[in-house]
Amino acid sequence: MAPGTTAMVKDTILKVDHLSMKFGGLMAINDLSLEAKRGEITALIGPNGAGKTTVFNCITGFYKPTMGMITLKRKTGKEFLLERLKDFEITKHAGVARTFQNIRLFSGLTVLENLLVAQHNALMRASGYTILGLLGSPAYKRAVEASIEKATYWLEKADLIDRADDPAGDLPYGAQRRLEIARAMCTGPELLCLDEPAAGLNPKESLTLNTLLRSIRDEGTSLLLIEHDMSVVMEISDHVVVLEYGQKISDGTPDHVKNDPKVIAAYLGVEDEELEQIEEQLEGGKV
């Protein structure tokens, strides 16, 4: 449970209903329904090719689902049907931000510029769609200062403040991962979707990532993440959904999922009699 959000009943921020996605003859997602609660970290796990990234791409508008409904409820109570919005509108209006499995930074822009680009829509409005900004309106200048402040805040959180003026392409891998998260946060999202944020990180970097993700959650942004690194998933998620072959096979708390024989079978493809052995291994892996 997230501290700070005390006794408030957690409402649903994201609801995926009967989602199906077909690529030609391939059913990548088959009638998938899931929910993510506000203020929680929901993890989406599953073996390679289970359709996790496809779900992400449907939620963030990069794919149009073949069937199904994706509803996002904002804090204001306004609801958005994400499958009807264009990809950029999902971020702009519905407040969903995402990162990518293979990092997509603006490598030729500096770290700070990356974070300013993320605040594009707010700055555009403040600059009167460029016209007021060109005339040097004081409101725009204030907005620029605020945007740099916001960027600085996230740079400090992501421990990148010393590299602010370096090109993003010059950062080491782990820092690029953190920058991508910081950049997504600068769009001011209510739901942050992370596609394998811990991929390629060393254990120490994974640990700092956990801290960063928790603090993002505690500040009121819900998270949805795809992850292979079980030390991250089990450590930080409040809720885990397991996919296999485009279908949900398990759903619940990390502990529940961890002990679900279906999940273990999906991951390891083993006979039932070996289950006990695997459970032990999982217990060991957590420490």
Binding site: L105, G108, L109, D165, A184, T187
Partner: protein, 461 residues
């Protein structure tokens, strides 16, 4: 190899071998192009003769050049590099020379006094050439290249039909001034607006395409505009072009028409000469260039400019951050087209004559070449490239003394494109990112450090 030649006896043998090899390749390469010449005899029949001496020169240059490079120059360079590496002094210094730091100020002051300088040095008649052929001509290309830079250099959209917007601007001025008698200062902004509208009209259907596809469609658009200009004879007079386009005036106060009562030279009691008009035009195009530069620099620091550059870096990431990429591309297209339109209307006023001949694909290619040579996104680099490429062409015209060397039927202008290509190859070999490959960040926390060209991307559509 870092080994000095003395301790490397095989080095000389290798140099000789490579030299001979280069000679053989050169022989076969130039055998048909240089060794044999065709010409028409008195009966207009095509006959051929051999030029073995010239071929021998070509082969000798290739062979000896290769021999010297492999045998002496390369070992020397390697030795120097090795010594430098041994001494352990790294060549990373941020110190720039005084000239380098204040280059822009020098350049601006020089441009401001340039017409008067040429008046002083070569007199009224002589400075016509320097102000018009060099000054105005180069500045028009600077402006066009800066305009295209917004589309190609910043937004990363490869536009091969930029000359279409130049044509729209030129014909807007030519037609509206000759049919409705509107003045230059009214039509200058109008031409820009028309060109921008065309940019948006073209952009809407086209900007879904990316990369090569976008390049082809923009190329086609450029050709369509030209063909319309040729074939819509009722309005555009086709290939005859529109002549007698009104001159620009000094905001309607003084005119440059010879007969007018408020003729500039008459009012100031100067001897009549066309050089005043040229000098005036020089300052107009200089002002237009500075406007382009100012707007570009300002826009780069606005959210829209950053979005353009982000678009060049990664379009998908842009969309994931809530940036409307279609609108962003359209604004880049329209802004670039607008400056093309300004330049076009200026071109019409300066020439007094426009015809579709001026707006062929080659112009688009030259403008794009200037942008690429200068370093995409860098205003200074592009201006230098324009001076080199356009000024270089003009200089070639002045090279009539080469006729003494190569014979009376040698016309240096014909080698323009050859040299253009050669220059591009050389620059791209040594400076693959153009003259100025680095990028100035638009915002900084502690210090502004240029971003090396190896991190920036060219965009893929």
């Amino acid at each position: 190899m870092a080994n000095p030649i003395e301790t490397n006896p095989g080095g000389m043998a290798k140099a000789v071998r490579e030299g001979v090899f280069a000679g053989i390749i050169a022989f076969f390469m130039f055998l048909l192009y240089v060794g044999i010449e065709t010409y028409q005899d008195i009966n207009n029949a095509l006959v051929w003769r051999t030029r073995w001496e010239l071929l021998a020169v070509f082969v000798a240059v290739a062979a000896i050049g290769r021999f010297l490079t492999v045998g002496f120059i390369k070992p020397h360079i390697d030795r120097r590099k090795l010594n430098k590496a041994k001494s352990g002094v790294l060549e990373i210094s941020d110190k720039k020379s005084f000239f380098h730091r204040h280059f822009l100020k020098f350049a601006l002051v020089f441009l401001l006094v340039y017409p008067f300088l040429s008046l002083l040095i070569v007199g009224k008649q002589g400075s016509l050439k320097y102000v018009d052929n060099f000054g105005i001509q180069i500045l028009i290309y600077v402006m066009l290249a800066w305009g295209l830079n917004i589309v190609v250099g910043l937004a990363g959209l490869l536009d091969l039909g930029y000359v279409a917007f130049y044509a729209v601007g030129a014909y807007s001025y030519a037609l509206l001034s000759s049919y409705f008698g509107l003045s230059f200062w009214v039509l200058l902004p109008l031409s820009g607006i028309f060109a921008a509208l065309w940019g948006i009209m073209l952009g809407f259907p086209v900007l879904r395409l990316r990369g090569d596809y976008l390049a082809i469609v923009t190329l086609a658009f450029g050709e369509i505009i030209r063909l319309v200009l040729i074939n819509w004879t009722v309005v555009t007079k086709g290939t005859f072009g529109i002549a007698g386009i009104a001159k620009a005036s000094v905001f309607g106060i003084w005119s440059f028409d010879v007969g007018a009562p408020n003729n500039f030279a008459k009012v100031f009691g100067l001897a009549s000469s066309s050089v005043y008009y040229k000098i005036f035009l020089f300052y107009v195009i200089l002002a237009l260039c500075l406007l382009t530069a100012y707007v570009t620099i300002r826009l780069r620091r606005m959210p829209i400019g950053r979005a353009w550059e982000a678009l060049r870096e990664d379009e998908i990431a842009c969309r994931s951050l809530g940036i409307n990429t279609v609108a962003t591309k359209l604004t880049a297209f329209a802004t670039g087209a607008m400056f093309g339109g300004f330049a076009g209307s200026f071109f019409a006023a300066r020439q007094g004559f426009v015809s579709p001949e001026s707006f062929v694909f080659l112009e688009s290619a030259v403008i794009l070449a200037i942008v690429v040579l200068g370093g995409m996104g860098s205003l200074t680099g592009i201006a230098i490239a324009a001076v080199v490429m356009v000024g270089g062409t003009e200089v070639l015209r002045e090279m009539s003394f080469l006729k003494l060397v190569f014979g009376p039927d040698f016309t240096p202008e014909l080698y323009r494109m050859l040299l253009f290509g050669l220059a591009m190859i050389i620059v791209m070999l040594f400076k693959p990112r153009g003259f100025v490959g680095s990028r100035e960040p638009t915002a900084f926390l502690k210090e502004r450090r240029a971003v090396s060209g190896s991190f920036t991307k060219e965009g893929h559509g």
